[in-house]
């Protein structure tokens, strides 16, 4: 284990930026999101949840896929190439780290998405333990330990010091490139901090939220439940929950006519939108109740169906904090699961 004084953290980030781009929780116009770090950036390692999750780094909200041009009778196609440079994402909380495993199942395990895979391979995940979890946090529901955030390198804030613990070979290699910026440290302080965090996790108001009632094979049990109508009644059909969610993975591919060329791009999509999965015959989910049901069934039943029982929620609490009408997966689980 190594350490550095927090007052010198910019020197650490400077060294990291020499290895490759560093994405970190950075404040811009009053909000914290993952942006590329530079020496003028306002790092906010203290903020628990960024507005958009860290998935943005591996699965960006929009990305170009190809460009088509016609000249005379010739059509030229220029395909985008997957990323080919190393980078790091710093300050990722345990819940977001876990979300990468869930996205991997979608983008790597079944069919390989070369763009996503390249970013995963080139990206070093540097996590950060949560000293002060929020009342909206329920990562423990999904077996996530905020005191051991995983990733390639784990970091901890204890008092005025940042502790640094490479976990994987990738993390060790990355740390080795940093030279002498970090000094050696023993683990006693971090171990004490871990105990403190665990004690807080035991007291979180949402600690008893359970997935027990849900999982693979429960489609018929939940699909026609009358509660869906009431739960979705106030839903305004915006995409906030899906766009701040670290595990929502649906996307759309569209062509954009620039006047000189056609740009094919991919962007996040939301099952809450009226044109989601729109087909020639129309939208298969005609009402907001059906769209709302889709989102939660996907996370609590369909995803486990297809992924050995794994849920596609990590309990980060972003939807709990951000939904304009304060409807969220916790309320849905409690209303349907009876707890």
């Amino acid at each position: 284990m190594q350490k550095i004084k927090l007052e010198n953290i910019n020197e650490l980030l400077q060294s990291m930026a020499q290895i490759g781009k560093v994405y970190a929780p950075i404040e811009k116009a009053g909000q914290v999101n993952y942006y590329e770090w530079n020496k003028d950036a306002k790092l906010r390692l203290d903020v628990l949840n960024t507005v958009k999750s860290a998935k943005d780094v591996f699965f960006p909200q929009t990305e170009d896929l190809a460009s088509f041009k016609t000249e005379g009778k010739e059509i030229s196609i220029q395909a985008e190439k997957p990323l080919d440079e190393d980078f790091a994402v710093f300050g990722v909380r345990a819940c977001d780290v876990k979300s990468f495993d869930i996205l991997d199942k979608v983008f790597i395990e079944e069919n390989t998405d070369e763009f996503y895979k390249a970013r995963r391979e080139h990206g070093v995940v540097i996590s950060h333990a949560c000293n002060e979890p929020e009342e909206t946090c329920f990562c423990t529901t999904f077996g996530i330990d905020a005191s051991a955030p995983k990733g390639d390198i784990e970091t901890y804030t204890v008092g005025d010091t940042l502790y640094w613990l490479p976990v994987t070979d990738k993390g060790k290699e990355y740390s080795a490139k940093l030279g002498n910026i970090l000094e050696e440290a023993d683990e006693s302080q971090v171990n004490k901090q871990k105990e403190t965090i665990k004690a807080i996790m035991d007291k979180l108001p949402l600690k008893d939220v359970t997935t027990q009632a849900f999982g693979a094979g429960k489609t018929m049990e939940y699909f026609d439940r009358p509660e869906w109508k009431e739960l979705s009644e106030a839903c305004i059909g915006c995409g906030t929950c899906t766009y701040v969610c670290p595990t929502c993975q649906c996307y759309d591919i569209r062509d954009y006519d620039t006047g000189k060329s056609i740009e094919r791009f991919r962007c996040w999509d939301s099952c809450m939108y009226s044109d989601f999965t729109m087909m020639a015959h129309g939208n298969p989910r005609k009402t907001q109740t059906e769209r709302f049901r889709q989102r939660f069934m996907h996370k609590l039943v369909y995803f486990p169906d297809n992924n050995n029982g794994e849920f596609s929620c990590v309990g980060c609490g972003r939807c709990v904090a951000k939904c304009p009408i304060s409807m969220n997966i916790v309320k849905v689980m409690k209303a349907l699961g009876g707890k």
């Binding site: 995409g239 791009f265 409807m327 309320k331």
Partner: protein, 325 residues
Amino acid sequence: MQEVIKKRVKELFDNNTIVRAIGWENGEFFYDHTPAVFDSAADMDVFVYDNFCASNLSKYLINHCAPEGKTLVLLKPCDTYSFNQLLTEHRINKDNIYIIGIGCDGMVDIDKIRALGIKGITKITQNGDELVIDTMYGEKKCKKADVLLEKCLSCKGKKHMIYDELISENEDEMPQDASKRFDLVNELENMTSEERFAFWQNELSKCIRCNACRNICPACSCRKCVFDNSASGVASKANADSFEEKMFHIIRAFHVAGRCTDCGECTRVCPQGIPLHLLNRKFIKDINTLYGEYQAGETADQRGPLTDYTQQDVEPTFISDKEVK
């Protein structure tokens, strides 16, 4: 007040005046109330009304005033402006609606409390002007006035513009600082165009195109929005470039100009904290200057400044004389 409202709504269910009521329902915590449709007096047990009932319920009536029987709606003073505007635009039918105007002392913004660095909030008690905040990390305090929602900072007053009955203790109280309503607009107007561009660029580049601002907006009541229409050529689920970031919001501001009541819901729901109400307020300020003082939704029978023609209307060529920046 919560109990008085609850009792009265239950009475109206019991004497068959109404068949449903739109209000707020208790959440998981003390601050996350969800708008709810109550179908019976018994349903009302989970009704809540306190510092965290900011949602403007008037837009829900578009979908809930058509079924048989009367729908009751609870409207705070500022919500009644939106209601009137929806009536003006024939989006709702007053014959099917029963309004209880309820008093309001200003709504609290939980995000502003969080921005003070207060984490793990479990309970808030109001003690006069002060809020006592219980958290997982000890007790904190702050002034209620410091954590009011943005929309409450330029409160239009405690008077309801339309109602069938009132449950309100401060109907005639005037807001103290309504004069500050255009302060930030003035600040923006006094910037150079480069500074102003940089301000909006910085704010709007955070936009994630979640459409929360549009979907919550009572003035945005088109059955199908042009931005959802894939045949329109402008439908975009993401901002392809910085032009699109701005286009969506500017087009929306133009579309609601003269109809926006300044209810502030757009800014309240924006997950990225973009001060969208400033775009609308700029239009309101300009309309006041060019066409005379106008407040959308003040009554349901007024003609909008941009949808009515009078001989006194300003000629575009004279706009510069009116000192509109």
